[in-house]
């Protein structure tokens, strides 16, 4: 039988990798929707490490946290998409380089 045990570090590496992908996507992508998806990816990376740690510590709380993070992320997504639509209506573009009315 194949051992079903996967070490904790594997999960953590994967979650760190997902988080890093999100960070890189946030920094280099130019489309607002893609940037937004990168943030969601970061949150999912965090979720994975919550679940992994929950299994490691035998603490159910870690899994419950994922529920909370998911709900918060959904609320954030709704607000974010609404804001994106508002920006699109005033600017007719979804490219962050062109959303430059306020100097950065």
């Amino acid at each position: 039988m194949v051992p079903s045990y996967v070490p904790l570090s594997y999960y953590l590496l994967l979650s760190g990798f997902l988080f890093a992908c999100g960070v890189v996507g946030f920094l280099i992508k130019r489309n607002i929707i893609t940037i937004f998806m990168s943030i969601e990816l970061m949150l999912n990376g965090v979720n994975l490490s919550f679940v992994a740690f929950a299994a490691h510590w035998h603490a159910l709380a870690g899994q419950v946290f994922v529920f909370f993070v998911m709900v918060v992320a959904a609320a954030e997504a709704a607000v974010g998409l609404a804001i994106i639509i508002a920006v699109y209506r005033t600017r007719e573009t979804l490219n962050v380089d062109q959303v430059n009315l306020l100097k950065l």
Binding site: K29, T34, A74, A77, A78, Y88, R89, T93, N95
Partner: protein, 158 residues
Amino acid sequence: MPDNYFAGYLPILIHIVLVGGLATVIISLSWLIGERKPTRAKMAPYESGMAPVGDARGRFSVQFYLVAMLFILFDVEAVFLYPWAVILRDLGHFGLWEMLVYIAIVLVGFFYVWKKGVLEWGPAAVRSQAASGLRINLRDVQSGVQVDVRFNDQRGGS
């Protein structure tokens, strides 16, 4: 294999029979009792309120996004019902009341959405949305294919 092994699955079997039966009854009743006056619009394939034939890249109503977002919100909020349901017996009255408060808060949100006129479709929506500040064109609403947000034809995106 002992008899009681399958006996454990009896509730599921009953469930399957009930669900199947209910679906059959509903469909056949509406088939038997319902009136049928086919029109062109009714016979057209249903595409969630959109014109089924035409350019797929046309813009469509921002209301679709609105409803989709609301769906996500209410859908995800229901996720808390599952862990609650698992330990409901142990929580007793406290758990029941807590969940009622939670659902009441969600319903307040639903009431707000409803009164804002987000759930109204068709010409009636125009009036209530004009009142609530959502500017939607009458012609657009009636044609069913709308022009508020274009995500598809934006240029310059990555």
